[in-house]
């Protein structure tokens, strides 16, 4: 088999971190090579070097046996390398064709766009590889899964032979992910080569021809799916044995803590995105909210925590009406909140860790006497929680912004769990975290549940919802389409519900 790409001895250091250390990586023509590793293992750094976004400190890159120097993304594109980033680089108010042409416009007299020609080429590409798109559609009107296809088409339009897909499934339903995998197979059948970055073990077995595992900037090993098991790969990633399933006892359900009745919430544009949601969460249970991103989960959580006003309906927490209560009132009622976007709602990056650990309690004893802050108490609290929650940092005075994502999330969990909470609203609690941190946070959530806290778990990771929840409510276009106990939930059934099919349809299949 011919090597499409060979990276030899790639090293890259950032201040204080050796992100890549002597990495060798080969990609054969026509293969899907999975690059697996925790966050911070060096996957993205390696790919950014290949794509010309970083310059390696040492090492060579060979394409089809010939050494190349890639200094910028345009060099990479010229060499036939395309990258689909985790966050799409699309202009929402442009059409598919316009987005695809952007930067490589073909023109008449150097001035007028040849839109028709481009649209035709897009149709050809989409037919050849089974990437269904409508060239005239506007990006803002098409679903996320289709937007991702546009990104792939963009790369193919630029005649990429090597495609880098960076965590492509994080925005997809299981069914959409399956479609993506089919597209990937037809791409490699046509002679393209694909580097697939992921940290989800299940996907590895669905698509990989070969797997390379990175840890701490080193290659731990390269293997094939038939020789590997999930447990083995997890251990390679983390460097120790990992418990993949969450162990938990049957829930001891108590009183109703959260009661939502016919809740309607508008988004920033004034459009209804939560449409008559009713649900109940009881003490000692985890109620999972499953759904594809953008189906009203964000607004629902914001409404429950007082960050967004409600249009209609009622929210009661421990019997008190909190529909129009301020965030502080709700927090003081015993509500913990692990926000979906930890940088936006979870912490002040320029504050020390210790201050972030009292971000919602700084005005209470012992952290303040009247209006005077008690620094000693805040620092003591910081040191205590850093030790208890294993937040990796040189000191409690370090700014929160210097922590890794996993440690930032631990900081938020530590803060929320250090208060006497009766209800925990937890949105995407493990987004973007490595296996070790996910394991830790899952354990903490279960501990909290067993201590009698009601937990509302909102997550787009179906595996997570299924592993933790006692009951699962599926949200689709702002409505709870179905609520079922975990015993009755299946991946396929939930997947269909998340895609808009009612339960009847799921059973009929």
């Amino acid at each position: 088999m011919a090597l499409a790409l060979s990276m030899r001895g790639i090293s890259k250091a950032f201040p204080g971190v050796q992100a890549n250390d002597q990495i060798d990586f080969d990609l054969e023509r026509g293969e899907i090579h999975v690059l697996l590793g925790e966050n911070g293992a060096g996957k993205t750094t390696l790919m950014n070097i290949l794509y010309g976004l970083y310059r390696a400190d040492a090492g060579q890159i060979y394409l089809n046996g010939r050494e190349v120097h890639i200094a910028t993304p345009s060099d990479a594109i010229a060499q036939g390398i395309g990258m689909v980033h985790q966050h799409f680089m699309l202009v929402p108010v442009f059409t598919v064709t316009e987005n695809t042409m952007l930067g490589v416009e073909s023109t008449r007299y150097g001035l007028f766009l040849r839109q028709e020609e481009a649209a035709q080429r897009i149709r050809d590409i989409s037919e050849e590889y089974g990437l269904e798109v409508e060239p005239e559609a506007y990006i803002k009107d098409i679903p996320v899964g289709v937007q991702q296809r546009v990104e792939i088409i963009k790369a193919l339009y630029r005649q990429a032979d090597i495609l880098i897909l960076d965590e492509p499934t994080s925005v997809l339903t299981p069914q959409e992910a399956e479609e993506l995998f089919q597209v990937m197979r037809s791409l490699v059948d046509e002679g393209k080569s694909i580097i697939f970055i992921t940290h989800k073990l299940k996907e590895v077995f669905a698509v990989a021809d070969r797997i390379t595992v990175l840890r701490d900037g080193h290659v731990v090993g390269t293997t094939t799916p038939d020789k590997a098991t999930e447990a083995m790969l997890a251990e390679m990633m983390v460097g120790r044995e990992v418990i993949l399933t969450v162990e938990k006892e049957a829930p001891e359900v108590g009183e109703i803590v959260l009661e939502v009745e016919d809740l309607w919430v508008l988004d920033d544009r004034g459009l209804p995105v939560v449409n008559g949601v009713s649900l109940q969460a009881k003490a000692g249970e985890i109620l999972g909210i499953a759904g594809v991103q953008g189906n009203g989960q964000t607004e629902l959580v914001e409404a429950l925590t007082g960050l967004r006003s409600t249009a209609r309906g009622r929210v009661r927490i421990l019997g008190t009406d909190t529909t129009h209560a301020s965030p502080r009132k709700i927090l003081e009622k015993g509500v913990g909140h692990i926000p979906e976007d930890r940088h936006k709602h979870g912490m002040v990056l320029s504050y020390p860790i210790a201050d972030n650990l009292v971000l919602s309690t700084y005005y209470q004893a012992p952290f303040a006497h009247g209006m005077v802050i008690n620094g000693e108490a805040i620092d003591d609290n910081g040191r205590k929680l850093i030790a208890e929650f294993d937040i990796r940092t040189p000191s409690e005075y370090a700014l929160a912004g210097t922590l890794s994502g996993g440690n930032q999330q631990k900081l938020i969990v530590a803060r929320e769990f250090s208060r006497p909470i009766r209800l925990l609203i937890s949105a995407q609690p493990t987004r973007g975290l490595d296996v070790g941190s996910i394991e830790f946070i899952h354990q903490k959530l279960i501990e909290r549940r067993d201590a009698g806290t009601a937990i509302l778990l909102v997550s787009v990771e179906l595996d997570e919802v299924m592993a933790l929840s006692d009951r699962i409510a599926v949200i689709y276009e702002g409505e709870i389409v179905e609520t079922l106990p975990i015993a009755e939930a299946t991946r396929e059934g939930l997947g269909l519900l998340m895609a808009g099919a009612r339960k009847e349809g799921a059973i009929a299949r």
């Binding site: 965030p327 502080r328 926000p339 303040a368 802050i373 620092d379 040191r383 700014l399 912004g401 210097t402």
Partner: protein, 375 residues
Amino acid sequence: MPAESQEKGPGRARRFIIAWTTGVSGFLVPVLAVFTALLIGAVVIWASGHDVVAAYRGLFEGSWGSPRAIAETLVLVTPYTLAGLAVALGFRCGLFNIGAEGQFYMGALLSVIVGFAIHGLPVYIHLPLAMVAGAFGGALWGAIPGFLKAKVGAHEVINTIMMNYIGVKIVEYLVKKQLLDPTSTLDRTPYILPTAELPPLIPGFRLHAGFIVAIIAVFVVFWLLWKTTTGFEIRAVGANPTAAKAAGMSITKNFVLAMTFSGLLAGLAGAGEVLGLNHNLPAAFVSGYGFDSIAIALIAKSHPFAVMPAAFLWGTLRNGAGLMQLRAGISVDLINIIQALVIMFVAADEIIRWLYRLKPKEEITEVVFTRGWGH
């Protein structure tokens, strides 16, 4: 027992220094910015055919060369510090208070009214009362745009600029029509009573007790921002309003509070000028301190302790300009050029970092100066 229970923390002061120096390679950038600006200024002087050494010696001697020069520099440092603190405090809450000038005027106005219109009070009541009146005037003038921002989202930059015009015109109207001193041919208020005067610090010099007020204000602002729950909130709202809200803080309350405190400090600066120096308020009272204070807060990276050195720099440049002109025959406008360069280099600190091969800026900076624009 875990080790942390025995260990005593280095204390809030130390942690605070850590946060400050890790935020933006400390104050290295401002210092290098000043140095670079003086260097370019030297090139300009040389290129225009003048004596660089004589010019800069004049600048230095004019501001620090004699007791009187020093006293006059400190006279300028006083309002620069107070107004600089005002703008810095606004920045800390993510607010761009362009209105220090208007707040300064209102402070001057109210303190001068109390100063000349109330008779028969002992100095220890009359003087504080006049100062409080000035602080109140500034606070009110700051609170209005703060309130508008909090309640209807009106941008504080626009509103503080408008409040500047209103403030200046109110002063002009009142002084010319209502408060005119009948015994004078000039358009000005009567002199304040001696009981309302900020006394001179050294007999025979113009330097007055307002300088002490400015020094105290530096510590009070530091205390407020870093040692109180109010400051904790103000800084959190400034650094990340969405996270502050999620943590239960009121963004609107802190906007109003920060603008009120900010205006209060600028009002004190105005009070100091009339109670300590002018002893009356002319209709054509021109300060400019309110605008220079923006630059001072910027150079100080909105840190109270750095505001005073920045104010010293501004005082030095302003006070030394005269002798520099006299000695080297160059226009005082050169000082404007140097000031502009300092501001430019501090604002576009990437230039300085590139020039001196400093570490690139870290993702997390202590203050976001531009916050407040466009939302």
